[in-house]
């Protein structure tokens, strides 16, 4: 294969991320559907390449409260990943999982937070499995960490990670649900040398 330009690699990488997002979100949807005992459909994920400085308002207004679940990954790929949900989606999933009144809008208690962590864990693991099987790389996630806070402050974490190498970040948006649509966002943050490893494993290199 001839040498590709950065732009070509980026375009190809976006396509691959889309495909990983597709498979990962498919796995996650199946896992959540069987856990909650409901039927879920999903749409094709969208991948957006954003300026790092715009990440804080990429999901919703900067001051809106969202849920962020953060995992570190290691073994063949070092880095971290995040799964983000708006409050209405998080509330819906928690209430379904814990069998509460679906319209309850109270603040999250300890039990809710731990249910959310578990949901985030399943979704992130499904996504990482897809990445792992496409690249043949072993990826081990850490335990999940959770934060419920302003979108801009949660998104400062990936913004800083990406900001160390460049000015762009990739955000993957998935949508699933039946009567209520759940919006979820993935951000994969490989360390710089792991990013090259992923590209190489996919047959894309600079």
């Amino acid at each position: 294969m001839g040498r590709l330009t950065l732009e070509e690699v980026n375009n190809a990488y976006v396509d691959v991320l889309k495909e990983i997002g597709n498979v990962g979100a498919g796995n996650a949807t199946t896992a959540i559907a069987s856990m909650l005992g409901i039927r879920i459909d999903m749409s094709v994920p969208k991948v957006a390449l954003l300026e790092v400085s715009d990440l804080g308002s990429a999901i919703c207004p900067e001051e809106e409260i969202i849920v962020g679940i953060f995992l570190e990954v290691q073994t063949d790929i070092d880095g971290s990943m995040m799964f983000l949900m708006k409050m209405d989606s998080a509330q819906f999933l928690v209430n379904k999982l814990l069998g509460k009144d679906t319209y309850s809008q109270n603040a999250f208690d300890e039990m809710d937070l731990s249910a959310l962590k578990e949901i985030g864990n399943i979704i992130a693991a499904s996504y990482l499995n897809a990445l792992s099987s496409m690249t043949n790389l072993t990826i081990t996630p850490s335990i999940p960490h959770i934060a419920v806070d302003m979108a801009a402050s949660i998104l400062s974490v990936p913004a800083i990670q990406f900001g160390q190498f460049g000015d762009h970040a990739l955000l993957i948006k998935t949508e699933f649900g039946d009567d209520v649509m759940i919006n979820g966002f993935f951000i994969l943050m490989p360390e710089e040398d792991s990013y090259e490893k992923i590209l190489k494993a996919l047959g894309l290199s600079l």
Binding site: V52, G68, F70, E72, H145, A152, L155, A159, Q164
Partner: protein
């Protein structure tokens, strides 16, 4: 009341009384303000990383503590602020996720706060007050009429430093 000037991530600006300068949802980033109480000129930089020299891609000077604070100082002076009267305040530098302390993500907020203090010491500008660390996001406002620095967080009372 004057205008409200918004500063984004990796961004900086200055303003004069009676205006207010604000940045929304500081996480691990730092919001650093300068204020001259006589001319009532204020400025705010929202930087993401402690040191421009550790990054190859460092064209956006407001992204880093060292270059961002220098540029904010330059703009303050050009607008008529007196360097000897300047007071600095900082907020942010939170650890949003309770990951192990050794990793890069774990301590970036703390490193960002330390970078501000080192830079201010070098510039010989007094750090009058700070609200940094812990695990929550902060929205901040510098009121140029009074020099008061408002800090707002979810589920916490407003703090004025």
């Amino acid at each position: 009341m004057g205008k409200v000037i918004k500063v984004g991530m990796a961004d900086l600006n200055i303003c004069k009384s009676p205006d207010i300068i604000t940045t929304i949802g500081l996480g691990s980033c730092i919001g650093l303000t300068f204020y001259d109480p006589i001319t009532k000129i204020g400025g705010l930089v929202h930087y993401m990383l402690p040191d421009s020299r550790q990054t190859r891609n460092n064209s956006n000077i407001a992204k880093f503590a060292d270059t961002g604070i220098d540029e904010l100082l330059r703009q303050m002076m050009r607008a008529g602020a007196n360097r000897n009267r300047l007071v600095a305040k900082i907020a942010g530098g939170a650890k949003m996720f309770q990951v192990s302390g050794l990793s890069n993500v774990g301590n970036i907020g703390e490193r960002n706060a330390i970078a501000a203090k080192e830079k201010l010491r070098m510039l010989k500008i007094r750090l009058a007050a700070e609200d940094t660390g812990l695990n929550y996001g902060r929205t901040v406002e510098l009121h140029c009429e009074t020099g008061e620095f408002y800090i707002k967080a979810i589920g916490r009372p407003v703090k004025i430093i």
